[in-house]
Assembly symmetry: C2
Homo-oligomer: 188 residues x 2
């Protein structure tokens, strides 16, 4: 466990708070107590709550981007999908959903700058899944009832909802219907 600066600790706990309770579901006091500072110290690093959430979504997006980028593309689409799903399965066993999935329901309460980041996040994940599907299509000659783009959007949306519903039902296996469709879509 590496030592973190106060700013890093604030951002880290903000990620957790948002993924658990949403932008409107936590306060500066909650965050300050977790880090062990006073609320006024948060304002030193993040003048307004909008600044905090913007930095949080940028950080979260950067982490997922790095994770996608680090996937070994010499693996088969099936193996790549399995790795992607195992990451989501870990989340489905806890009480945190995707940060973007949470914030996108709070769209009307968030500034344009956050919308921009959230849209980019969705596109990044959909495009990555679409790449897998297209490769399975060209290499295995698979045929789909809808376009690879539409299928990627459906699967990604179902995975997002799967995390939400897994937590609601207290049943991580709720993610598996979407996982099954993804695996079926990229398998030979």
């Amino acid at each position: 466990m590496k030592t973190q600066s106060v700013r890093e600790q604030l951002l880290e706990h903000t990620l957790v708070l948002i993924r658990r309770r949403g932008f409107n579901g936590f306060s500066y006091r909650d965050l300050a107590d977790l880090v062990g500072v006073k609320t006024s110290s948060i304002h030193y690093y993040f003048p307004a709550k909008d600044d905090l959430v913007l930095e949080a979504v940028k950080e979260y997006s950067a982490r997922i981007s790095e994770r996608l980028r680090s996937v070994d593309s010499s693996l088969s689409p099936r193996e790549q999908a399995e790795g992607y799903l195992n990451f989501l399965r870990t989340a489905a066993c806890g009480d945190q959903i995707c940060l973007a999935g949470m914030l996108s329901t709070e769209t009307l309460c968030l500034p344009e700058s956050v919308h921009t980041e959230l849209k980019q996040f969705y596109r990044m994940n959909e495009n990555w899944l679409m790449g897998l599907i297209e490769r399975a299509q060209s290499e295995y000659g698979k045929v789909y009832p809808v376009t690879p783009r539409a299928l990627a959007q459906v699967i990604y949306g179902a995975l997002q909802n799967g995390l939400i519903v897994a937590r609601l039902f207290g049943a991580p296996e709720r993610l598996e219907s979407a996982a099954d469709l993804l695996m079926a879509s990229v398998s030979e």
Copy 2:
């Protein structure tokens, strides 16, 4: 426009407020101002905010239940699905997502009684879609890469996420990828 009792007006505006901004995103003051009463009057009908949200989700669920029940089951699966989608398309053109889709992200802030209603709501919609898919399977001899139950869960989750993302992107057509998969799944 029928005259509504104060209680009915409160519930009606609560549905809109939750679908726009979520449970943590509106206050008794917001609601009171919309109806034109004082906040203390809300407490007369709904002692606590938890009571208000519970009644709201029950009312919303009853409306969707009635809508599903009233679908003419002599229509083809394709026609039934088209009607279901047109209802969702109307929502996707406004700024309100599904009430259950919104509240399910706020699970950790809501009482057990609301969880129970939300779970029942998800099951109702998934079962209805599964019925369509199973009928298409038996009547048209369609084969799916996953079970009808899993496919119904995937499609319903993708439709829920579709409403959220349609609003985020300001693009109602974002719902169409999930709509396309549903239509492909129930067409001859």
